[in-house]
Subunit: 348 residues, 2 copies
């Protein structure tokens, strides 16, 4: 007799177990949690059939090797920031954030609705992966400084823990960028080995205690307007998934993108108050620092466009999108934000 | 012989078919589409087992009866704005948007991470439903005006198509609010039966052609900073769902919330350029109009808090959240937006 056919449902919903290597430690609970939110959603929606186990940075591979681990199929997927891989190609930075770039909504709309995702995935394909937006921190802070910065002159020669394209921009305006792992920042700031360090924003920064050794907290972190976290998946593994699981991954990443931003917005609002209560001195970067950094950024982008075809191919339409998007946001969104914040500042 | 036991998977993933009544016509493709994005995601993620058929306003019940239809179990769910039901209780407005309220990110973080969802669901439970955020338009425009508004005096006595709490605020500052269905706005503006009408934003407004009969397009729509669309579901029907489907609904709504905002941001950026190209005159509301409306809004909220316990219970923590959230957004987010937009305005 013919064997019983497996029920259709069992073929549609196979048991699949993946491993995800995060670029983040568990202590960064919101960023790290963005991968957990995604994985738990996928598991629940597939009735437990498709599970993705999340490993913190260092358990399988170090945090900054998360792309390599997916490319080599050590794991099927990761949770990371594309800009960690600017050493391979600076084009990676555009997927997460480049200095004076898009804010969160602009970044999402560029990725989802204006060709950004396709452009980035075509580039990521050179590394055998694709990337889904999976969380955002919002505009980050401009870091902790041991002394006040009253003008561009004050920033010259300062040693700052900052990496990537942001480090290159800071270098152009006289800062000495330093590459220091997260755990070494506090002692370096305390000893004065460095003068400044950027990390994330109030919620994450407060936990690391930087305010105890550097009391000036500058804003805005102009190098990260809407930094996108990524769920990256090996293309071969992704292509093997049934359609239901592909959709579950995409939808769960988007969900995590939505709620992770909400988490940061809720947590940072409390942390900034707490920090100010602890004596932290909030300071805006002086205008001449921003102007010098803005000019240095344009210079850097011109250099990259003239030497890197990958960069140019994505940066040029990105730049046009930024131009158009800024024009629209300046109309309704910015005007209403401005009015509301002005009324609050006036005590009304 | 004993009948074959149904496989466990079939119990976990039963066939369920729901109907959704939308408050929107198909012509509002982005808003209407937000329900389709949600429904298609749920269907795909459940391997076609859980389907939600979306019906445009009017096919099952009129758009503004979408809540009643869910409460009475005519359909299992809807896609609507909670503020359409302010006639039942003004408290409904807080779920979508109230004048000078929260922007999109602030609204999301209040709902998801600061108790807003629980407060609103406890209130919606009086009507037998719960509501998930499922799309947003961003700050809307301040409507189409047949003549220029140069000061508060110019607005007095003007007949404006505007409803809900926004209509009450406008009435307090001298406007005569009019309730007119979407399809009647264009002829009313054309004939001069009304002087002004608000609709949504550039993308939706352009399709209705208002620019042909009222050339002044004001901003910002201060009554809708981050208007949240809702997927409302009958609580009894929701409670009957398997956990996998509950999660699928929640995650798919959040996904739609994420991408619908991105769609509007991408589409509006093009539509605003197109409208300006057609001779539309963009104008900010004069400061005295905003100031009068802001004061009228505070007056309205005080009245509601003194007469409506439901309102007070939600509005008071909402107001505190707004205060704290505005303080944080003024630091990093607003400063960087301001700088970028100022540089663009300066041609840099």
């Amino acid at each position: 007799a013919a064997p019983l056919a497996a029920p259709a449902i069992a073929q549609e919903m196979p048991e699949i177990r993946w491993r995800l290597t995060s670029s983040f430690p568990k202590s960064l609970d919101t960023i790290y949690g963005a991968a957990e939110v995604m994985a738990e959603s996928v598991k629940a929606m597939t009735g437990g059939k498709f599970t993705i186990q999340v490993f913190p940075a260092g358990e399988i591979v170090p945090g900054l090797q998360a792309l390599d681990a997916v490319q080599s199929e050590t794991v099927e997927c990761n949770h990371t920031c594309s800009y960690y891989y600017v050493g391979k190609d600076p084009t990676f930075a555009i997927g997460t954030a480049i200095p004076f770039g898009l804010n969160v909504r602009q970044q999402n709309s560029w990725l989802y609705e204006a060709g950004g995702q396709d452009l980035m995935d075509a580039f990521y394909a050179n590394y055998g992966v694709r990337g889904f937006a999976c969380g955002n921190t919002g505009v980050q802070m401009g870091g902790w400084w041991r002394s006040e910065i009253n003008s561009l002159a004050d920033i010259k020669g300062k040693k700052m823990r900052i990496a990537g394209l942001a480090g290159k921009v800071m270098e152009k305006i006289g800062v000495v960028p330093q590459q220091i792992a997260g755990g070494d920042i506090y002692p370096s700031l305390e000893k004065g080995t460095i003068d400044s360090a950027e990390w994330v924003g109030p919620y994450d920064d407060e936990k690391l205690g930087f305010y105890q050794v550097a009391k000036f907290y500058y804003y805005p972190g102009f190098w990260e307007a809407g930094p996108t976290l990524h769920f990256m998946v090996n293309n071969k593994k992704y292509d093997e998934l049934p359609e239901a699981y592909k959709t579950a991954l995409r939808v769960a990443c988007s969900h995590s993108n939505d709620v992770t931003m909400a988490k940061y917005d809720a947590k940072n609002r409390l942390a900034i108050r707490s920090l100010v209560g602890k004596g932290v001195q909030l300071r805006p970067f002086p205008r001449d620092v921003l102007d010098a950094a803005y000019a240095a950024t344009q210079e850097l982008y011109a250099e990259l466009s003239s030497t890197n075809e990958n960069w140019k191919k994505i940066y040029e339409p990105w730049k046009q999108y930024r131009e158009e998007s800024f024009q629209w946001f300046r109309v309704a969104e910015y005007t209403l934000d401005s009015y509301g914040y002005a009324m609050q500042a006036a005590g009304k």
